[in-house]
């Protein structure tokens, strides 16, 4: 080695050593028990829970700890939270009496004006939840603690809709920068927010209830599942959720981690375009359902991490009722097809969005192979979400596989939004079903509403408007030192009861 190359070699080594030295002081950062480090599976792009993101899980899951609704859904029941009570002075009016003495994190008192401003903002935002409030004619504030919501038709869904509306201070809503660090009456307030990257919540000093056990919640976005699990095992984060079934099995074996699986308001559904041949015939729709062994799919494709559906919406939702299952019976499927005039099956297509949900492609391919066994050739069409949506709304498809989430916990959210013939989402039109759904929406007596949805659900199920294969479960994983985690069927965990030992 001559002296030049030796010199260069030495310099190179020195450079590498420097780089290595830079890398060393990592990982072993002291972690305080007062900070809970959370990794979202989906980025929090905005904290504005009144606008474009009002139905997005990441936004809601953070903001539900910051803004509180008038009524809250707990253990399947709607219970008062900011509102003390409510009544219907007439059929078109919902009157809410607010609790006295509640203050926002900035010390200002909660008044009816804040409720009005919040609801008005959601409606004006024209976002995905604004449609729930289409019947609202006026929001009135007779006094500081009373709010009247007046509708042009009877609206039975007001309570469950309100459970999705967190109340923000009216004055602050005027500030365009409010959603960079929003606050409300909840146990936490937002301390820091970098869109798509990081959210930090701190205890709200004005919170009227028991202070949350953990002083600070930090949300980081880690898109890759493997990255999230690595970060958990390396003690870089404390908790995450949204794992696919194969990862759940792997994580269960870990000594340092706990997995919790629980039912949600989400399910898979497969719709037929009932305005197209051959799906105009109910026998064809039922035949394809009988051709599928759902237990087998649940066990082997989903590793037991989903439930075979018992209705068009999961059973924990208000208005859900258990239906008669479609047995796996290929013989019956062939017979129904023959009766409908397709003894040799037929050819069709099924589309889905690549960004839909866990296992979507494997699931679709499995369904397609079951159908092939009874003579139905289904061409798969995997599309990007925006393209899929455009086709879906234009009814430009034969059948589609998708995921639904009844985030309000109320059957109306899914059944009446999507299955009314006026919505025309899947080419199915049934005046009897329309009547039931509209009557349920207009029914103020909640018990009667539930009965009407049960009837509507039976029609959708028996008429096989679609196949309802599996209800989704949520899998949360946390380090063993985490305690107090409470499962939430919305699939959006909250952490105001969680602490670290």
């Amino acid at each position: 080695m001559n002296h030049v190359s030796r010199d260069i070699f030495r310099r190179t080594i020195r450079g590498l050593a420097l780089a290595a030295a830079l890398a060393m002081p990592s990982v072993a950062l002291a972690q305080s028990a007062d900070v809970l480090r959370i990794a979202n599976p989906v980025a929090v792009t905005s904290l504005d829970s009144f606008g474009a993101q009002s139905a997005d899980q990441p936004t809601i899951s953070v903001m539900q700890q910051v803004l509180e609704p008038l009524v809250i859904r707990k253990d399947g029941q709607l219970q008062p939270l900011l509102a003390a009570s409510w009544e219907n002075p007439d059929e078109l009016t919902w009157r809410f009496h607010l609790n006295e003495g509640i203050t926002f994190a900035d010390g200002s008192p909660l008044t009816s004006a804040d409720v009005k401003a919040s609801l008005q903002r959601l409606i004006d935002g024209k976002g995905p939840l604004s449609g729930l409030w289409g019947a609202v004619e006026a929001i009135e504030t007779p006094d500081d603690l009373t709010v009247d919501i007046k509708t042009n038709t009877r609206l039975g869904t007001v309570l469950s809709n309100l459970s999705m509306l967190g109340i923000a201070p009216a004055a602050a809503l005027e500030d365009p920068n409010f959603f960079n660090a929003p606050f409300g009456t909840g146990p936490y307030r937002v301390a820091e927010f970098t869109p798509s990257q990081f959210v930090a919540l701190e205890r709200n000093p004005e919170y009227r209830g028991e202070p949350a056990p953990t002083a600070r919640l930090e949300y980081r976005y880690i898109p890759e599942v493997s990255g999230r699990i690595t970060a958990l095992e390396n003690n870089e984060i404390d908790v995450t959720w949204g794992l696919p079934p194969d990862q759940v099995a792997q994580v269960r074996d870990s000594q340092s981690l706990t997995v919790e699986s629980f039912p949600t308001f989400g399910n898979y559904y497969m719709w037929y375009n009932s305005s197209r041949e051959p799906f105009t015939d109910v026998r064809v729709r039922q035949a394809m359902w009988h051709a599928i062994d759902m237990e087998e799919i649940k066990t082997f494709l989903f590793d037991g991490t989903a439930e075979v559906a018992k209705g068009p919406i999961p059973q924990d939702i208000f208005g859900a009722a258990e239906q008669t299952p479609y047995a796996y019976d290929p013989e019956k499927a062939r017979q129904l097809l023959a009766e409908a005039g397709y003894p040799n099956g037929f050819t069709t297509t099924m589309m889905w969005s690549s960004m839909c949900c866990t296992n979507i492609r494997e699931f679709a391919e499995t369904l397609i192979s079951y159908w092939a066994a009874v003579g139905i050739q289904v061409t798969p069409q995997e599309l990007e979400r925006a393209t899929w949506l455009e086709n879906l709304l234009a009814l430009n498809w034969d059948s589609t596989l998708a995921e639904g989430n009844t985030i309000t916990g109320d059957a109306d959210f899914t059944l009446a939004r999507l299955y009314l013939s006026t919505a025309n989402r899947m080419g199915y039109a049934n005046p009897e079903l329309d009547e039931l759904l509209l009557a349920a929406r207009a029914e103020i007596d909640q018990d009667k509403r539930a009965e009407l949805y049960a009837e509507a659900g039976k029609i959708i199920w028996d008429d096989a408007v679609g196949i309802f294969p599996l209800d989704m479960m949520m899998h949360a994983v946390y380090r063993n030192e985490v305690t107090g985690f409470v499962p939430t069927p919305t699939g959006m965990p909250r952490f105001d009861t969680v602490s670290k030992q």
Binding site: S5, T12, L16, A23, K126, P128, N234, A386, L389, L393
Partner: protein, 307 residues
């Protein structure tokens, strides 16, 4: 020189305008509608129409295009539908991360690749040279998403030396930067090695030696300087490619850069952010090319253009 520079800037502006036009048209040509994406499965025609009117998407295409161009002059790309903030704000929050990542990767590639290439050339045919050649071949051939995942597995999951992703700590940049740098580093090693071998065979090297210059000066001044032009050209172009490669690497390492913003915004048909991101990337790319062109003149007086 000023005339040359002006011409160069003029053609650069044309490139930016062309890119802006293409991205504007492409976003509207592909299927999918931002209002529909935002409203989801339950979107009604009335809701979609109301949103499109709010966002000015109901105006005729030429009007939208003119609006876009006139506002682009002052770098105003409008409001992001998805994020509820000015598109430029979203870009300026993420672009620095991408540039930082690209620059660290670039520095790594240069600081490691250049000496390795010189060393390899001087060791021509020996074991060290062969080892380095093998390394650079592998570095160029392995796809970066695979390298990235392997690095996480080894350094993060098994050895617990580095964080697996994010930009939460200063050293978090190292894994994505190494992953991103590897292909460029390999190119530099090979270019420097072959360039130096070639120039070391030229008569002026013999002359330099005959003058009695020390080997350091012969190699360092006469050898290296004369093979710099191709290296600078390729490296300059590759800096643009680094920005492109950053998109994949950013996803693997959860790096909060422009690449990820761009991908998410395309999926949401967030026209404003896509347009802002692409135009800013093109501006960056074009600026690098101008700098590279100007560097030629510094490195080799023969290509200097007089105005």
């Amino acid at each position: 020189m000023p005339a040359y520079l002006l011409g160069r800037l003029g053609s650069a502006l044309l490139v930016v305008l062309g890119a802006a036009t293409i991205v504007f048209l492409a976003m509207r040509a592909i299927p999918g509608d931002p209002a529909v994406v935002m409203l989801g499965v339950s979107a009604t025609p009335e809701q979609v129409a109301a949103l499109r009117a709010d966002w000015g998407l109901d105006a005729p295409l030429p009007v939208q295009y003119l609006n876009f161009l006139t506002r682009m002059v002052v770098l105003d790309f409008g409001q992001s539908i998805r994020l509820g903030m000015p598109a430029m704000q979203a870009v300026s929050q993420t672009l620095p991360y991408t540039i930082y990542l690209a620059l660290v990767a670039f520095a790594l590639a240069l600081l490691v690749g250049f000496p390795l290439g010189v060393f390899s050339a001087l060791q021509r045919g020996k074991a060290a040279d062969k080892l380095i050649s093998l390394f650079s071949l592998a570095g160029q051939s392995l796809p970066s998403f695979w390298v990235g995942i392997m690095l996480v597995l080894l350094l993060s999951r098994t050895l617990h030396i580095l964080p697996s992703g994010g930009a939460g700590s200063p050293e978090a940049v190292l894994l994505p930067a190494v992953t991103l740098a590897l292909p460029l580093l390999s190119v530099i090693v090979r270019l420097v090695r072959s360039g130096l071998l070639e120039s070391m065979g030229e008569p002026y090297i013999q002359t330099a030696r005959a003058k009695g210059l020390g080997e350091t000066r012969v190699v360092g001044v006469h050898g290296v300087r004369n093979m710099l032009i191709p290296v600078v050209t390729v490296v300059g172009l590759e800096l643009g490619t680094l920005l492109g490669g950053a998109v994949i690497v950013e996803t693997v390492f959860a790096w909060p850069g422009l690449g990820r913003l761009l991908i998410d915004s395309i999926a949401a048909r967030d026209y404003a952010v896509v347009q802002a991101s692409v135009v800013m990337l093109v501006l960056f790319f074009v600026s690098i090319n101008i700098v590279v062109d100007l560097l030629y003149g510094v490195l080799d007086p023969r290509v200097r253009v007089d105005g």
